[in-house]
């Protein structure tokens, strides 16, 4: 994780991946 956060580009990529995960998981959580 530390290595990802040291790179601005990888941090943005991780943020976009997290966004997709949130978008997919939210309707499942809401039920």
């Amino acid at each position: 994780m530390g290595k990802i956060l040291q790179s601005m580009e990888l941090t943005i990529l991780a943020g976009l991946v997290l966004t997709v995960i949130v978008a997919v998981v939210t309707p499942m959580l809401a039920g």
Binding site: G2, L5, Q6, M8, T11, I12, A14, G15, L16, L18, T19, I21, V22, A23, T26, P27, L29, A30, G31
Partner: protein, 167 residues
């Protein structure tokens, strides 16, 4: 139009959005501009950033973080969904509350990161408080990693905030 201007909930929403723009705008300034540029600045020019620009940016940054969370919590309370959002409304079939709840928790974690990890370490790294010189690199790295964590969280957090308004 009048009912919007004098509606307290709308006014709090406006305060929440204004402080949020200031907070995340400065977070993105730090991560898109200042952090990547600092190593390229000649040593004799670095104090221009570390002594003048960064302390002022951090002043607005940390108070905007506090304001955003406080106004957001007040807004959720005023609109009657504070508990539903903070408990994520799991299994209740309300995507809006689940979305805003996830966004709220990410925002709360980010604001805690600002006040507990970023600001105390930045004070050491920028020499705003007395600390051993050899502690500065470690403090700067800790502040940078938590700032990057917030940068990463800002993308899904904003997805949740905007998504909750349009779900």
């Amino acid at each position: 139009m009048e009912h919007i201007i004098f509606n307290p909930a709308f006014f709090v929403r406006w305060l929440h959005v204004v402080s949020g723009i200031l907070w995340i705008g400065l977070l993105w300034y730090f991560n898109f501009v200042q952090i990547p540029t600092m190593p390229k600045i000649p040593d004799e020019h670095k104090p221009g950033v570390s002594k003048y620009i960064a302390p002022r940016a951090l002043l607005y940054f940390r108070h905007a973080a506090l304001g955003t969370v406080l106004f957001g919590l007040i807004l959720a309370f005023q609109n009657g969904y504070l508990v539903d959002a903070l408990t994520l409304s799991i299994g209740k079939g309300n995507v809006t509350y689940t979305l805003i709840g996830l966004g709220m928790w990410m925002g709360i974690i980010m604001a805690i990161n600002v006040w507990v990890f970023i600001w105390p370490n930045q004070k050491i790294a920028l020499g705003l408080v007395d600390a051993p010189a050899d502690s500065k690199p470690k403090a700067a790295r800790t502040a940078m990693l938590f700032s990057r964590t917030n940068f990463m969280l800002s993308f899904p957090m904003l997805y949740c905030m905007v998504g909750a308004q349009n779900a």
